[in-house]
């Protein structure tokens, strides 16, 4: 990250990016690795032995373990030193999140506490609020939760019905309403709650469990993540001191949405940790399980599954660490500690956060699904970890904004940034149209350098994105927001571009540093991912074009698109067998 200018959120769609400008897991330093090991050892030695009890709602263990995590510093990474935290870089906190995800439901308890629970106060609290609340939250003396969702308002967060009314003496706000599905609600001491003052001004409050009028409902019975506590937070004229208003009155949405951005990207990080675990247990099982007197790992269809799981995981891992790098860059240059500059820095990469969330959760769902399949009938049995992971995975596509909402956010964020003049989307789309009219397909290089073809495909994918999204904007103008199917397709192309590019940039960075032999697995994984993702982009492009044009115009556009989507075939079977061999030899996800 040598450059002096901050990378603009969403700019990856419009610009060429150099491998030196992205952070990759290979850039971790020794301290990072030690922190990751401490976290992993802690989860494996301390959490795993009691995980079953935690999943039966014995949350005394969760509290005890969270306190122990606090002693190790695992709760203070994102809290500045002056408030009792460690003030570490985002890479450190990403590593902690990735490794804690091995604790499944416990990982969520941890994540909700350090992430959406504590961060609103870190970024938007007043000096007094930070001094009062952050030290015990960072040390594990107290725990936090986040209360936004209501029975009647999920995706439509601003439709909340919880109201706040000032008491007659002017000292308190009285909050009344129900917040639903609140993670950590069994034991959290501090809740960040959203309510509308006088039924209008959407505002965030810091609500302590001990405040008069605060209670929780019974534990929910969930499909998965049973190891996390989920209850309703009941507010019955809850007496909240006026100094506990968090941020500005009427500006609660600013906190809510920015914290969700971070939550989305952290969710993707957790998904990466879970993907690695699913690959590990599936590879081990495949080596052990024999059918027809042969370990099933020797069957190519099993190998292919593991290879695809690994390639997708590689793309997701590359993506989340790249995004972490963006945040380290953006937040380290934060001037002043007021909420608005923090909000701006977080919001900068809102588009990337949505991309991470959708991609990470869908990769994990794919990986655990194939993991169950590799386990066969045993994968359907509760004694097997993969069965648990399969159920746990499902919620990721729903919470922190459904994947549908996040898909819609991707093009709308892009358009908003374009309207504000932050991204030259329309200019680029305009000049591209002329370029495409005269574009001649280039002949394939006889002996392309490693990744040369992949980079070319990413470049073409970006052109395809500009072309189709540009045409869609031109056609529908302000009505585009009603065309959700097209918006979804545009989002999917953007997601695949970020995924392919993150994987390829990471492999290229390793290639430049270590040479082809040492970087081989990364090259293979990146190539495998691009090879399977690129046809999906083409398909999405067709879908968009055929819904906005017809007749000759459609045929012209399709023939232009065809120039962008030509690529050389490779022996994908051989490539995936090579990848699978490495995974099966190591019995874990390796790069």
């Amino acid at each position: 990250m040598a450059s002096d200018t901050i990378t603009k959120g969403g700019s990856f769609l419009l610009e060429e990016i150099s491998p030196a400008d992205v952070f990759t897991p290979e850039d971790l330093n020794e301290e990072h690795k030690m922190m990751a090991k401490t976290t992993e050892d802690f989860v494996k030695d301390q959490v795993w032995p009691v995980l079953e009890e935690i999943e039966q709602h014995n949350f005394d263990h969760s509290v005890r373990l969270l306190k122990q995590a606090g002693e190790l510093g695992l709760l203070g990474a994102d809290v500045p030193e002056e408030y009792g935290g460690l003030g570490l870089d985002k890479v450190s906190s990403t590593l902690i999140t990735e490794k804690v995800s091995l604790g499944r439901g416990f990982g969520l308890s941890h994540g909700a506490h350090v992430g959406i629970g504590t961060l609103p106060i870190v970024f938007f609290g007043t000096e007094e609020q930070k001094k009062k609340y952050l030290p015990p939250l960072a040390s594990g003396e107290k725990f936090a939760a986040y209360a936004l969702t209501e029975p009647g308002s999920g995706s439509d967060a601003l439709g909340a019905k919880t109201v706040a009314k000032k008491s007659e003496d002017g000292q308190y706000y009285l909050l009344t309403g129900e917040k639903q599905w609140i993670t950590n609600s069994a034991f959290a001491d501090v809740f960040v709650v959203y309510a509308k003052i006088d039924g209008e001004k959407f505002t965030a409050f810091i609500v302590e469990r001990d405040f008069e009028g605060v209670s929780t409902g019974p534990e929910e019975k969930k499909m998965g993540i049973k190891g996390s506590s989920t209850r309703t937070l009941i507010l019955d004229e809850a007496k909240v001191p006026v100094e506990n208003v968090l941020g500005e009155i009427g500006k609660g949405h600013r906190i809510a949405f920015n914290i969700l951005n971070i939550g989305r990207y952290k969710l993707a990080v957790g998904c990466v940790g879970s993907c690695k675990r699913a690959i590990e247990i599936s590879a081990k099982y495949a080596n052990e399980r024999k059918q027809f007197n042969t370990p099933i790992a020797q069957f190519p269809l099993i190998q292919e599954k593991l290879a695809t799981m690994a390639a997708k995981t590689f793309a997701a891992e590359s993506m989340v660490y790249r995004t972490t790098g963006l945040y380290d860059e953006g937040l380290s240059r934060l001037e002043g500690s007021d909420g608005s500059s923090a909000a701006k820095a977080i919001a900068e990469y809102a588009l990337e956060c949505s991309v991470n969330k959708v991609f990470g959760s869908e990769v994990l769902d794919y990986v655990v699904d194939e993991g169950v399949q590799i386990h066969g009938g045993y994968g359907f049995m509760q004694e097997y970890e993969i069965e648990n992971m399969y159920r746990d995975s499902r919620i990721n596509r729903i919470f922190e904004g459904t994947n549908e909402i996040n898909r819609l956010l991707i093009p709308s964020t892009l358009m908003r940034k374009t309207m504000k003049g932050e991204l030259p989307f329309m200019e680029k789309a305009g000049s591209l149209q002329e370029e495409l009219m005269t574009m001649m397909p280039t002949l394939p290089d006889e002996e392309p350098a490693p990744l040369e073809e992949e980079f070319e495909r990413i470049e073409n994918a970006k052109k395809l994105f500009l072309m189709t999204a540009g045409l869609a904007v031109e056609k529908y103008q302000n009505d585009l927001e009603k065309e959700q199917e097209i918006l979804r397709d545009i989002a999917d192309i953007a997601i695949e571009i970020f995924a392919m590019e993150s994987a390829v940039l990471r492999a290229k960075k390793a290639l430049d540093k270590d040479g082809e032999e040492k970087a081989k697995m990364k090259l293979d994984l990146a190539r495998a991912y691009v090879y399977e993702a690129f046809p999906r982009i083409e398909q999405k492009g067709r879908h968009i074009l055929s819904s906005i044009e017809e007749g000759d115009l459609l045929r012209t556009q399709l023939s232009i698109m065809k120039k962008l989507t030509r690529y050389e075939l490779i022996n994908e079977v051989a490539l995936k067998r090579t990848i699978a061999k490495r995974i099966l030899d190591a019995e874990r996800y390796v790069v």
């Binding site: 020794e30 301290e31 030690m34 922190m35 090991k37 401490t38 050892d41 802690f42 002693e71 190790l72 510093g73 695992l74 203070g76 990474a77 460690l86 570490l88 450190s92 190591a586 019995e587 390796v590």
Partner: protein, 256 residues
């Protein structure tokens, strides 16, 4: 109290051993502090916290072994010394003990701790050899340690039984499993470790001649244990089973 800990960086216990060209390959392998040495580090930190003083961790190994010292310092050790082993050829327990003795003779110490053996070569020799070279007493495989003034009391594991031993400082003890439960390096500890002093020495700094350090043993071959084959359960009448067993022990296993 001046406390020294000798430790070795070894393969992570979960690593699979791969042999390439007659050598154990360390390509892509994760390394850890030898688990028995980790007990020694933990015990040293506890002694320091109880009696005051300083914990110095010492290793002989390649550059990467610095990481093991940093980990020990993240746990709480105060400083580290690494002796580069690049000039050591064909080194064995004899050589390593001599190098350690050369480092330690210039240091003040009341007690030296180490693991009773390294999980990689499993020789359990370096500790006792080092004590001999330094002409101090040693107690191996301890599971409990109490120090009061000059007096040392230890419980020693002897194949499942316990021996109670008394001795005096200065002393060398080696740790057996059960001595303590090593702490995790905490995140604040990891950040602090970065700034703790780490001294790098080579054989020249120690006035050692590599020829005097050549190992007394020679490794002839490195190979993996044979893969375990499926067992066989004998069937039929008891008499027949016994006959078959004897016959197989004679002709197949050739043990009787």
């Amino acid at each position: 109290m001046d406390i020294l800990v000798c430790l070795k960086q070894t393969f992570d216990t979960e690593e699979r051993i791969v042999i390439e060209d007659g050598q154990i390959s360390d390509d892509g392998v994760e390394f850890v502090i030898n688990p028995y040495d980790e007990y020694a580090v933990e015990e040293a930190i506890r002694l320091r916290d109880e009696h005051g003083g300083e914990v110095t961790v010492i290793t002989v190994g390649p550059d990467r072994a610095e990481q093991a010292l940093r980990t020990a310092m993240a746990m709480g050790a105060d400083k580290g010394i690494i002796v580069d082993d690049e000039d050591l050829e064909n080194a064995d327990e004899y050589s390593i003990a001599r190098v350690l003795a050369a480092v330690i003779k210039d240091l003040d110490f009341d007690i030296i701790l180490g693991g009773y053996m390294a999980i990689d070569d499993g020789s359990a020799q370096v500790g006792p050899r080092l004590a001999e070279l330094l002409e101090i007493p040693h107690i191996s495989t301890i599971t409990k340690l109490t120090i009061d003034g000059e007096s040392v009391e230890a419980e020693k594991d002897v194949e499942g039984d316990v021996e109670y031993i008394q001795s005096k400082l200065p002393i060398l003890v080696t740790a057996q499993q059960g001595l303590n439960d090593p702490r995790y390096p905490s995140l604040p500890g990891i950040m602090k470790a970065k700034k703790k002093p780490l001294e790098q020495l080579d054989l020249d700094d120690l006035d050692l001649d590599e020829e005097d350090l050549e190992g007394k043993t020679e490794t002839l071959e490195v190979f993996l244990p044979p893969e375990k084959e499926a067992g066989k359960i004998l069937e039929g009448e008891l008499d027949e089973q016994v006959k078959e067993l004897v016959q197989r022990l004679q002709s197949e296993a050739k043990v009787i």
